[in-house]
Symmetry: C2
Subunit: 235 residues, 2 copies
DNA sequence: GACCGGTAGAGTGTATACAATAGGTCAAAA
DNA sequence: TTTTGACCTATTGTATACACTCTACCGGTC
């Protein structure tokens, strides 16, 4: 929808984004324009522009004359986020079932089978995670509705800062794979309503799992804050 | 989610927004920072910030080193927009059915009945339109999911520039009212799935109607462009 | 006559300087 | 000792000046 090129503001936006995603910038960290400017070796102008963009993207919150802060999602909002995302992904699955080409479906099956292999042979869990998100991604793209894709991406983006909390509780990957299996079966079988329901519940459950894990780890927040501050100030 | 206060950039953003909505700035019009700056009596800086925000909101498109342009939705995208919106509103209706308080449902019924009165007595159609959007709005809020509300608002915003094309084809209002009637009935009866389906189809049909009307009027685009340019340059 | 490259001119991107605001600090009074 | 209020500093918001990019026009060439 909105095409851009490599202007400094964009570069900086991407840099901040990835720092948020990889955990250098923990939610709650406050961002200071001047400091960021010197850190990136530019003036405050492009930094401000990057911040404005990230605010609109929902990754940063800010009010007038106050510092920008990496958005912090309380558990209620996080729950809302997953609920909304599950509805959107469900809708996408519904549409994708009838709209994906044979090639697209085949690609999706391939991804799914790679994931199955990975799991069976106990390979790199990071790789499995990548395949998993490719699976979701593939279904969403399959709906061929630019706006629905955009909206889904938007919500997914806001979950990313919390994805790194994702951890293996015993049997979680197997459950995940089984869910995916049900979803792909429904899509291949052409049962749109089943596909919707399966993906919807799957995403919702993923959210629940993530939230439970975060809730547990919030008990010891001592280790989180100092590290974050440290990394923000490091040049 | 993101709180702001009255900074100049926000004022200008709102000004541009409303000009887009009321039709002063027709989709396709190009916005020049310098001109806008002098028009609003400020420097380019807040104007640029306003534009950045509107770009992220989807109302304006822009790529690096090029002028900002009021987003123009081709018919395909508009169709996507309505399809996505219908899914979101449908989801909201589903959730609202079980989550709205009695007070909320009552308020919704009141709005619906006011609309019925308005229609029966052939009162102001503008007022009817307002009640109609209040009805939709009320259902969406009723889902009590901040994110879903945000996402729905986001999409609705992008439809607004085209709403003014809305016109009365014979019997359209009656059909609209009948749809709303079915929706509110399902909600009051507590039948979430019926509510979802009813609102979803209703929004989709609204979109189709709008698109048909726009398609007809696109046949004579001569009158649109000069007027737009004219209005942009008027102080 | 059509096509191509170069060259102003307009307009965007960035830097810097200035203004205004918020939040903290310190002092004074209860 | 605590609280309150005024100032003072740090940081954001805005203006202006400059640099770079694009585009449209022009002359030349095929």
């Amino acid at each position: 929808m909105t095409e851009r090129e490599a202007t400094q503001a964009d570069t900086i936006r991407l840099a901040i984004e990835s720092e948020i995603f990889n955990g250098s910038l923990v939610p709650g960290t406050s961002l200071e324009e001047g400091r960021l400017a010197t850190r990136f070796g530019v003036s405050r102008t492009p930094v401000r522009e990057a911040i404005t963009q990230l605010v609109q993207a929902g990754l940063i919150s800010k009010s007038a004359h106050r510092r920008a802060v990496v958005s912090e999602l309380d558990s209620g909002t996080l729950l809302d986020l997953f609920e909304a995302l599950s509805e959107l992904e469900g809708s996408a699955a519904f549409l994708s079932t009838t709209r994906m080409s044979q090639a697209e479906k085949k690609r999706l099956v391939t991804i799914h089978e790679s994931a199955a292999d990975n799991l069976r042979n106990q390979e790199d869990p990071n790789e499995y995670a990548k395949l998993g998100s490719a699976f979701h991604h593939g279904i969403v793209r399959g709906c061929h509705n630019k706006i629905l894709i955009e909206a889904t991406d938007w919500l997914s983006l806001r979950v990313l800062p919390y994805r790194r909390f994702q951890v293996m509780t015993p049997g979680r990957l197997e459950k995940n794979q089984a869910d995916h299996d049900a979803i792909i079966s429904a899509i291949v079988a052409g049962d749109a309503e089943v596909a919707r329901e399966a993906l919807q519940r799957h995403t919702l459950e993923q959210g629940d799992a993530l939230m439970r894990f975060i809730a547990l780890n919030k008990k010891k927040p001592v280790e989180r804050l100092p590290r974050a501050i440290n990394e923000e100030y490091s040049v």
